[in-house]
Subunit: 288 residues, 2 copies
């Protein structure tokens, strides 16, 4: 309970501008916690101001920034077994005064988004996805132990129930992400795809879990740290076919889900905004 005068102070603190007046008054400053990648970078780059110097009047109303994006390159494992990107240098600094490449890129390679149209005849293309669905609470379902035992593991309705029991009801309009541990294998295409006799082996979402989310919760997106929302051996892509045509999106090849809390982070989906695209490369930022 608030003592007299406190509610006003809280109200001021909870408004954006007042937040920092409040923070300054209370004598603590917002800081940016750096992910491992950024921390490494910091020592090497003196010209750019170091993190953690955010002024009390700054806008860091979150504590950490975690990049959930793998670096895309021609080496990155793809579903189709061909490089997902090719770079062609068109201008060179020494000759032209600046550097510039063209890319040839598959819409669905690397860390990327699946738009509704990817598995439907008339669903939304990527540029039509509403802005408010691409900033979403992130719920991470950790199935690493089970996926180690069974590389074809399917996230189940029970896994979602277990998460809710441990944390809370899945937040409204959230993204539900599978943490299978497969991101650790991304440098080894054979292990990441699990290809054997023409069949892939990696974990994905079960259709029972996807159907339950569609009926009982308001999730806007699914995310996986593997090549596909459906698991490796899937022939019918049941989760893609159930999920995407409803206007929801999917994220594949997500990185660093082990670096964010299972509950409480906010995901910002920075997908390229291309007219008529069925998906595209996405920069995924988690604010924690």
């Amino acid at each position: 309970m608030c003592v007299p005068g406190c509610q006003e102070a809280l109200q001021a603190a909870l408004s954006r501008r007042g937040f920092f007046k409040g923070a300054a008054a209370a004598g603590f400053a917002a800081t940016v916690i750096e992910p491992a990648e950024a921390a490494k970078k910091k020592s090497a780059k003196k010209a750019v101001p170091a993190a953690g110097t955010q002024a009390p009047e700054g806008q860091s109303y979150f504590k950490g920034v975690v990049d959930l994006t793998h670096t895309m390159s021609p080496d990155f494992p793809t579903f189709f077994g061909v490089p997902g990107i090719e770079l062609q240098k068109q201008f060179d600094f020494k000759k032209d005064g600046f550097n510039l490449n063209w890319w040839r890129i598959i819409e669905h390679a690397g860390t990327h988004l699946d738009a509704p149209i990817h598995f439907s005849e008339s669903g939304d293309t990527v540029e039509k996805l509403a802005a408010e669905t691409r900033v979403a609470p992130l719920a991470v379902i950790d199935v690493r132990a089970r996926a180690t035992q069974n590389p074809d593991y399917l996230v189940s309705r029970q896994d979602l129930a277990d998460w809710e029991k441990k944390h809370r009801r899945l937040p409204e309009r959230c993204c539900v992400a599978m943490l299978s541990g497969w991101a650790d294998y991304v440098g080894d295409a054979a292990k990441y795809t699990g290809a054997s006799g023409g069949v892939f082996h990696f974990p994905g979402f079960g259709s029972d879990a996807a159907e339950w989310l569609l009926k009982e919760r308001s999730a806007v997106g699914l995310a996986v740290d593997t090549l596909s929302l459906d698991n490796g051996p899937s022939k019918d892509f049941r989760v893609h076919r159930a999920w995407l045509p409803t206007g929801r999106w999917g994220l594949e090849n997500v990185a660093n889900l082990d670096k964010v809390p299972p509950s409480g982070a906010t995901l910002v989906v920075g997908v390229a905004k291309v007219r008529n695209a069925t998906g595209g490369p996405a920069r995924l930022i988690a604010l924690t």
Copy 2:
């Protein structure tokens, strides 16, 4: 000044989880304000939960989500006068069960990021930009009145001083954005580029402003709602050459800067993470 007990309540409110306990206790709930684009979308898409239903225990510690990104297409005006993207359909839903395109794309077309290597011999490529510099306070310098008078207008040191006088000192590690009004012309390439006799005419940053920011403030990025950080007639790209080699980034063809407050928004730069890229398409999200 806080009355006894209030500081603890503030502290709880200002921690991420405590924020919402505090918000609930104080009797107000976080909501997501929709940008125009999303609002239009909402009525058409019933399958996805509507915005504004965020539970009090959700993560919306901001009020609004504004998309600062133009939709990229072959029609989008480019610096080089050729289409910045081509889509090639590789799989078709009716025939193959899913839709998928390849793209051929210029790294520096549409709403995009310039990495340090774009104008340097050995600067950072895009995948090396530290995560904490891509989530930044956004300061919007409104020069629309001056740009209407002079399409080659250069944002000056004085414009920055005027902003600071009206608002506050530029936040640490911010992105400084020029709002010239040119985003309104993006559907008309002749007007957007201002091409006349082989010379472009559109506003940009002045080198006095850029140099002052480098020396006196800690800005990490510059952004413009035109084709280039330097203005249209520039032959020497002085701002590019002064700014980028220091390890900082730039954003070009930014949309909707008139939809965010001049001070107080947080910019999340969702640039595609491609190895050895000199820039790339970026989804820019402002949290307000």
